[in-house]
């Protein structure tokens, strides 16, 4: 299979998954509330807004027509109107600073987590059985067992409450909202530090264990013996040759565990008051803001599917077996 065909196939699969997810969301949000219009209409909305919504989403028509309207509205970015944010369109709430903040937090956190864990995992696997390796492996098992929200609370308690190194909540301090961009940027980074640390710790142990085990499973392979026989130093074998396998492992994990991104975002953002999609979802659940929940629900699935898709494409470039028609 050529690489282009492979990518096209993966995109088609991703599209199908998103389509199913949207359909599930449509029925879920109509069956669960009891009142089928509850997903869009609420007493908190003004009468004019209600009339517009009934017309736009065909809420007085049979469900199959509603379904078609739902999809066509969705394609135009119309997800209804928030019950809470004084009638603001859902798409406007989601696609803005909130999505940006979440992408910054999760993107940076995942990248740094993958990077650091690959580095430590490679070393631990290479030194298999040593005290260093055993310490790292034990620490990782403990790390995978600690709930992420507890790690977050501890970071907040120690660094925020005791040492006052990081802010207790928020994305930016109120005092600097009108300051110059550089001050605001620094303040933003200062707020990012806490949640970012938690996301890194969240991804670190599991990635590390997988990378380590990949390296261990390769240690007996012929090509390692050949590389050693050629007189290459360990560092070159590790960071030039084995690192490629480690990257395949990491990319696999990114794909398989992309739903964890959403979990991480919801919990970390809630703890640190980071103004992102996860916090938005949490607050909307507390306030029964159904249109926003529905919008975020669809968005999270799209994010997971896109992350999967990117990982699949990255595979094709990292692993020649896929490019040349082998199986993964």
């Amino acid at each position: 299979m050529s690489i282009a065909r492979y990518i096209v196939k993966k995109i088609a699969e991703a599209g199908l998954t998103v389509f199913i997810a949207i359909t599930v969301a449509f029925f879920l949000f109509r069956l669960l509330p009891g009142d089928p219009t509850a997903a869009f209409i609420d007493i908190r909305l003004s009468p004019e807004a209600k009339l517009i919504l009934i017309k736009q989403f065909g809420l007085d028509r049979p469900w199959h027509e509603q379904y078609v309207l739902f999809i066509s509205n969705l394609l135009q970015g119309n997800l209804g109107i928030s019950f809470v944010y004084r009638g603001t369109p859902v798409s406007k709430i989601i696609f803005g600073p909130k999505l940006f903040n979440t992408l910054v937090l999760m993107g940076t956190g995942m990248f740094l987590g993958a990077f650091i864990s690959s580095f430590i995992g490679l070393l631990a696997g290479w030194k298999r059985g040593t005290r260093f390796d055993r310490t790292i492996v034990s620490a990782s098992y403990i790390g995978t067992s600690a709930p992420i929200f507890w790690i977050g609370l501890l970071v907040l308690l120690i660094l925020g409450s005791y040492f006052r190194l990081i802010p207790m909540s928020g994305t930016i301090s109120t005092e600097v909202i009108h300051a110059d961009p550089l001050t605001r940027f620094i303040d933003y980074l200062w707020h990012l530090a806490g949640p970012l640390m938690v996301i890194i710790v969240y991804f670190l142990p599991i990635y590390l264990l997988y990378v380590r085990n990949t390296v261990v499973s390769l240690l007996g392979e012929d090509f390692i013996t050949v590389l050693k026989a050629k007189g290459l130093p360990d560092s070159v074998i590790l960071f030039k040759h084995l690192v490629r396998y480690a990257m395949i492992t990491v990319v696999t994990l990114l794909a398989v565990q992309s739903p964890l991104l959403v979990t991480g975002a919801i919990i970390t953002e809630t703890i640190f008051g980071w103004n992102g999609i996860g916090l938005l979802l949490y607050n909307s659940v507390l306030k029964s803001d159904y249109p926003v929940i529905q919008g975020v629900f669809i968005l999270t699935i799209v994010i997971v599917v896109v992350a999967n898709l990117l990982a699949d494409i990255a595979y094709a470039f990292l692993d020649p077996r896929i490019r040349y028609g082998g199986t993964r």
């Binding site: 998954t17 199913i20 997810a21 879920l28 949000f29 669960l32 509330p33 009891g34 098992y141 403990i142 995978t144 067992s145 600690a146 709930p147 992420i148 929200f149 507890w150 609370l153 501890l154 907040l156 308690l157 925020g160 409450s161 005791y162 207790m168 599991i206 264990l209 997988y210 085990n213 992309s258 739903p259 991104l261 959403v262 979990t263 919801i266 919990i267 809630t270 703890i271 979802l281 949490y282 909307s284 659940v285 507390l286 029964s288 159904y290 929940i293 529905q294 975020v296 629900f297 999270t300 699935i301 997971v304 599917v305 999967n308």
Partner: protein, 291 residues
């Protein structure tokens, strides 16, 4: 003994398997941890000096002889709350895990035996469910339903039978290709007979380690929901205590005793089940070394 797995036929093999399990240090440590937490949960009534929901001290007292873990923001004894929390966490964790393992095993074995269209459709559904962000789905459902213990368990089961189904199905498919199943089919054994007598005993080791992993997942999931304040409001689990801690101003007061013990208990319990599952795989499923 096919495929490097040990079935569970005969009392002697059973005893031998259990013996070799306890020779594995990882498993033994995990088992001991789980045992201790279990004992705490069972004997919570005698271990806790105070009823967990009664106001027995001043707000946010630091740890002392009268209150081992101090008190919370309403003057409740945190030690007693943590002890009773073991009960809630284990009940929800075990019930949800047993149910999802049952569902997963049934679906897995059924797919492995029936194969064909049913299997293909089920696998599509499973692949779809695997791409769902669980916590977001759970939040979306809880937005409509008032959470109680049963609903929390149903949500966990609905989202976590999948991994069991996947491993069991894969194993069942490969068992269906084996000679003894072919022989059974040749003498006219029914599908149900093959499932119960040939497939099930042979996937049992996998099911067991999957069950332990499911307990781990269920405890973490319940803790996350309760921490967000979306668990069963009637029962206080470790996650609930941490939710109270965040809401009750434990940070402003620097009340570490409010935050450290419940989270530590979650971590240790989950670690216990993790170690057990690693040990189980090492002994029973040596060919499936995961991590």
């Amino acid at each position: 003994m096919r495929y490097g797995m040990r079935g569970f036929k005969g009392l002697r093999t059973k005893l031998e398997t259990i013996k070799s399990l306890f020779k594995c240090l990882t498993f033994t440590i995990g088992f001991l941890i789980v045992l201790i937490v279990g004992i705490i949960a069972i004997f919570a009534d005698s271990l806790a000096p105070y009823p967990p929901l009664e106001f027995v001290g001043d707000p946010l007292e630091p740890p002392s002889i009268t209150h081992y873990f101090g008190t919370d923001d309403m003057g409740r004894d945190l030690y007693s709350m943590v002890v009773y929390g073991a009960r809630v966490s284990l009940i929800i964790g075990l019930t949800a895990a047993i149910l999802s393992t049952l569902v997963g095993t049934t679906v897995g074995v059924a797919c492995g035996i029936v194969r064909g269209v049913v299997d293909a459709i089920t696998m599509r559904i499973i692949d779809f469910l695997l791409s769902l962000p669980y916590l977001a789905v759970a939040l979306a459902i809880i937005a409509f339903l008032k959470p109680n213990m049963a609903i929390i368990i149903i949500i966990i089961v609905a989202l976590s039978w999948i991994s069991t189904a996947k491993v069991v199905r894969a194993q069942a498919l490969s068992l269906m290709e084996s000679l003894f199943v072919e022989a059974a089919e040749a003498i006219g054994a029914s599908r149900l007979h093959i499932a119960l007598k040939h497939i099930l005993p042979n996937v049992f080791p996998l099911v067991l380690s999957s069950l332990v992993l499911n307990v781990r997942g269920a405890i973490l999931f319940e803790a996350s929901l309760s921490f967000l304040g979306l668990g069963d409001p009637e029962s206080i689990s470790w996650g609930t205590i941490l939710f109270f801690a965040r809401r009750g101003g434990a940070f402003a007061a620097g009340a570490w005793w409010y935050i450290v013990p419940p989270g530590f208990m979650i971590m240790v319990t989950v670690l216990g089940f993790t170690l057990m599952s690693i040990g189980l795989d090492e002994v029973l499923n040596p060919r499936l070394r995961k991590i």
